[in-house]
C-alpha cells in the first residue's frame, strides 16, 4: 500500500541541485502538477534529464522559464527557443544525446548495465571522447548509464500498491525512467483499487514506485 502525497509535498522532496528524470515527449505524458509545484517552490540548479524541454508555457518549459534548471540532458530543444537562448547565453548547459541513446542510457542505469553499445552517432560529433568498440566487424560507441536522484513520471492509472499503466503516446520515457530514479514519484491521472489494473496491463510494477501524487481535491 502506497501513500498518496500532495504535489507540494512531493516537490519538497526534491532539493536544489538534484538530478531529475522527467517523463514526457513535447509535454505529452509529463507530470504537469508536479512540475507546477516545483516551479511554485522555486527549486534551483536542477539537472533535468528528459527527451526535450517541450514548448514555451508547457511542461518542462515552465521549469526552464522559472530558472529552476542549470543543466539539460535531452535529445531535442528545437521547439523551445527559450532553452536555446539560455544555452547560448551560458545560463544553461545543454548536453544533446540522440533519442534512442538517451532512453537506453537511462535504461542501463535502471537495470544495472555498465553502459550500452550503439551504432548511433558513429562518425558524428556525438562520438567525441567516447570509446569505440568493434563487435563482429561493426563499430559501436560505448555510451554510459545516466543515473538520477529522482524520476518524476506520469501515468494513466495507478493502483493502491503503485502499479502503473500508461496510455497511448503518453508512455514515451515514463516506464523506462521508473527504473532509473533513486526515488520515483508518479503522477497518475487515476488512482484505482488493487485489481482494477490487470497484471498483464501493468507496465511499471508498484515496487519501483516510491510516491504517488494524490488526485486533486476537485477530482480533476
Amino acid at each position: 500500500m502506497k501513500h498518496a502525497i500532495k504535489a507540494e509535498d512531493a516537490a519538497a522532496l526534491v532539493p536544489d541541485g538534484a538530478r531529475v528524470l522527467i517523463g514526457g515527449f513535447m509535454g505529452v505524458g509529463s507530470p504537469h502538477r508536479l512540475i507546477d509545484a516545483i516551479v511554485a517552490r522555486g527549486t534551483k540548479n536542477l539537472t533535468v534529464i528528459a527527451n526535450d524541454t517541450a514548448m514555451p508555457g508547457k511542461g518542462i518549459a515552465k521549469l526552464v522559464s522559472a530558472g529552476c534548471v542549470s543543466t539539460v540532458i535531452a535529445s531535442h530543444i528545437g521547439l523551445n527557443p527559450e532553452t536555446q537562448q539560455k544555452m547560448i547565453a551560458g545560463e544553461i548547459d545543454v548536453d544533446l544525446v540522440p533519442q534512442g541513446t538517451l532512453v537506453e542510457r537511462i535504461r542501463a542505469a535502471g537495470v544495472g548495465l555498465g553502459g550500452i553499445l550503439t551504432p548511433t552517432g558513429i562518425g558524428t560529433l556525438v562520438e567525441e571522447g567516447k570509446p569505440k568498440i568493434t563487435v563482429d566487424g561493426r563499430d559501436y560507441l560505448l555510451e554510459t548509464p545516466i543515473h538520477a536522484d529522482f524520476a518524476l513520471i506520469s501515468a494513466y492509472r495507478a493502483d493502491y500498491v503503485g502499479n502503473l499503466e500508461y496510455a497511448l503516446t503518453a508512455h514515451n520515457f515514463n516506464p523506462i525512467m521508473a527504473l532509473a530514479g533513486d526515488t520515483v514519484i508518479a503522477e497518475p491521472h487515476h488512482i484505482v483499487p488493487v485489481g482494477v489494473i490487470p497484471p498483464d496491463s501493468v507496465k511499471t510494477p508498484g515496487i519501483l514506485v516510491d510516491h504517488l501524487l494524490e488526485r486533486q481535491p476537485d477530482g480533476s
Partner: protein, 216 residues
C-alpha cells in the same frame, strides 16, 4: 505544382505495401497524403505509436495521442502504442523499413546533415541519428536549394547526422540515388531540365543516357 507537393508525391511512390515507415516532421509528413488507398503500411511516430492515423475530427483530439511534433493524431486499426525504448529498438534493430527525413545538406558520399547549424540553430538531433543509422532505407525529402544556394554538395560542411550513405534524395528538381561511384541522377522534376539540375547542384552528378522526368 508546389515544390513540396512534387516531393511528397514522388516519395510516396517509393513506399512498398505492408512495410513500417517513419515520416519526419514537416515536409516528410506530407508523404502520407499521397499514398494510394490500396497500399497498406504502418506509419511509426517515434514518440510511441505504430499505426499513426490522420488528424482526429475536431473536438475529438486526445492529449495522450500525438505525433513526434506534438500534433494530434489518430491510430489506425491494428495500431500499437509502445514506449521509447521499444520505439528506438525498432528503429535501430532493423525493423523499420523506411524513414523519410528532411535535409539541410547531402553530399557526394550520400551523407546527410540535418540536425544543427553551429552558432545559429541547435535544435538537437532528436531521433534523426538513430533513424539514419538504423532504418533499412533512408530517403531524404527536401527542396533542392536553400534561397538559391545548393544543398547537394561535394562535401557537407554542417555536422553529419550519420556516416551512412542514404538510399535516395528526392527534391522538386530531381531524384538522385547515392551510389559507390557518386550521385546518380535518376529523374528530373516536372519543371526541370538536366542542365537546371546540374546548375542547382554543387556535387558532381552521374548522368547515364536520357534522364526521364518524374511521373506524378
Amino acid at each position: 505544382m508546389e515544390a513540396k507537393e512534387i516531393i511528397a508525391r514522388r516519395v510516396a511512390q517509393e513506399i512498398q505495401p505492408d512495410t513500417l515507415v517513419n515520416l519526419g516532421i514537416g515536409l516528410p509528413s506530407l508523404v502520407a497524403n499521397y499514398l494510394p488507398n490500396d497500399v497498406h503500411v504502418f506509419f511509426q511516430a517515434e514518440n510511441g505509436v505504430i499505426g499513426l492515423g490522420a488528424r482526429p475530427p475536431e473536438g475529438m483530439e486526445d492529449p495522450d495521442l500525438t505525433d513526434a511534433g506534438g500534433g494530434f493524431i489518430t491510430a489506425v486499426p491494428g495500431a500499437a502504442s509502445i514506449d521509447s525504448a521499444v520505439s528506438f529498438g525498432l528503429i535501430r534493430g532493423g525493423h523499420l523499413d523506411m524513414t523519410v527525413l528532411g535535409g539541410l545538406q547531402v553530399d557526394e558520399r550520400g551523407y546527410l546533415a540535418n540536425w544543427m547549424i553551429p552558432g545559429k540553430m541547435v535544435p538537437g538531433m532528436g531521433g534523426a541519428m538513430d533513424l539514419v543509422a538504423g532504418a533499412k532505407q533512408v530517403i531524404v525529402a527536401m527542396v533542392h536549394t536553400a534561397k538559391g544556394a545548393p544543398k547537394i554538395l561535394k562535401e557537407c560542411n554542417l555536422p553529419l547526422t550519420a556516416k551512412r550513405r542514404v538510399s535516395l534524395i528526392v527534391t522538386e528538381m530531381a531524384v538522385i540515388q547515392p551510389t559507390e561511384e557518386g550521385l546518380l541522377l535518376k529523374e528530373t522534376g516536372p519543371d526541370a531540365s538536366v542542365d537546371d539540375v546540374i546548375s542547382a547542384t554543387e556535387a558532381n552528378l552521374i548522368i547515364r543516357g536520357d534522364v526521364p522526368r518524374m511521373r506524378l
